[in-house]
């Protein structure tokens, strides 16, 4: 976790991050907690926070979707994260 986030941990919102498919393989866990600063978030900003916190996801940046409480956001939408919100990092699976 980058230092800029660690310093904000006390004043932020704690959300749950869920990893699927390749993201799970790269990060090495199924889920984890993450504290993010209060404020409004766009899809783009959420994506960059996730990749900044887990740089190992860089290799698939742009190839996964992020769902907030099981719903994908529209690009223009801004939302405020609440305590306990679930953010799912979902790359496509291609095997069969």
């Amino acid at each position: 976790m980058s230092s800029s986030f660690r310093t904000l941990m006390s004043s932020g919102v704690k959300v749950k991050l869920l990893f699927f498919a390749k993201a799970r393989e790269l990060v090495g866990v199924t889920e984890t907690g993450l504290v993010v600063p209060n404020g409004l978030y766009t899809q783009k900003k959420l994506l960059s926070i996730i990749v900044e916190t887990f740089p190992v996801l860089c290799s698939i940046q742009g190839n996964f979707i992020v769902a907030l409480n099981e719903e994908c956001m529209d690009q223009s939408q801004s939302i405020e994260l609440k305590e306990g919100d679930q953010l799912a990092v979902i790359p496509p699976l291609s095997g069969g």
């Binding site: 698939i60 190839n63 719903e71 699976l93 291609s94 069969g96």
Partner: protein
Amino acid sequence: MMGLQEEEFQMPNFKQLLEEKDSEIMRLKTLLTKYVPKSELDQMSNSHPSTKIAASTATLESPENLCSQLSKEDVARYSRQLILPDFGVGGQQKLKKASVLIVGAGGLGCPAAIYLAAAGVGTIGVVDYDSVELSNLHRQILHKEHGVGTPKSLSIILAVSSLNSSVKCVSHHVLLKSNNAEEVISQYDIIIDATDNVASRYLLNDACVLLKKPLISGSALRFEGQLTVYNFDGGPCYRCIHPSPPPPETVTNCSDGGVLGVVPGTIGCLQALEAIKIAAGLGSSFSGKLLLFDGKEGSFRKITLRSKQKTCSLCGDNPVISKLIDYEQFCGASPTDKTETLHLLDDCSRLTCQEYKQLKEDSSPHLLIDVRPPEEVAICRLPNSVNVPFSKVEDPIEVEKIRNYIQKLDNKNKQVFFICRRGNNSQRAVQLLEPKLADLNVILRDIRGGIQAWAEEVDTAFPIY
């Protein structure tokens, strides 16, 4: 009604009852068509299965014709789904007229095919270019031991026809590509993506958008499965959700990542279910939705996807893709799930299995590092090898371990060899470790083709997985 008259001796009361109900339905139908506009009538027939028959008889000359479309045998075979509210005779007849194409006769395609056949889908097409291998049988459940080496599409046809001989099953023993996909796909109403690679997924998506076909897409790896219905009912296409393919080196296939057979089995069954619902006019539960199945956790999550994108390069307002493209080029990977063979090292940094065998026979002192994951090492390994998994090869603790091993070797002849499953990671390991071990004056080399080549070229009793 003809079909029922045949059973008159068994159930005279039912016959009379049915005739009464029929005339009642006809009377109501006449009233409805007189007083209710046709559009509203269609809507009613969709939401109320009981009025569906009445409405559909309006287009037929007499009620007798309706029953004659399902034979006595069909009625008996499909009775449990015929009496199902929301499905019924109308659904069965639609299934019988429907044609579904399954692309991929593997872990997803097998269960999908057999359930579609069981349900009575009129025509099932199967596309696959592969032959059955022993390593397929744990998940591709329609293939048989005695069928190893024979075309996969053929074993599906055999299984389907022995379950339901009234289903027309067509084998397409081709590798689906840009130049033949539209010809095959255009013959079918509904397409099931049961493939195992990225290039085929984009190809199928593009062809289905161009030909206006619903695409039921399933995938599976390890304990996880995914399912979405694309290009249906105003929903998004695959490119709306995933505009660009992942870098090929980040894509894990079943051969490298592993998969538990029941996982694609579960997704394949759900693909069949969606195909049946779409064919029967019941719509789909996964248009614009993504099912995430986690077999280890036992969880099903349903994610709402972004809607169809105006900016989509294929189905958007200003599409730039108007015909199929080169998907191998677009994805940087061939339309198979085979692992590509890399050539990262110079020939002088590589050793063949035969050369390594000779070196062992000469008792030449050396260190053999097996960089496969411990799960694979547990299956089979070469004697006197040490295991440093590739994922940890740069870990300072592991590097120190390797340094210690090397320092124990005979001073004059410090040879270090790396081996993996197929000879790709062993080359990568040499590249990663060369700078870290440069001070030790050692030669790092990899064994070409890995454990698999050893099994094929040196020790044929050695297992291949």
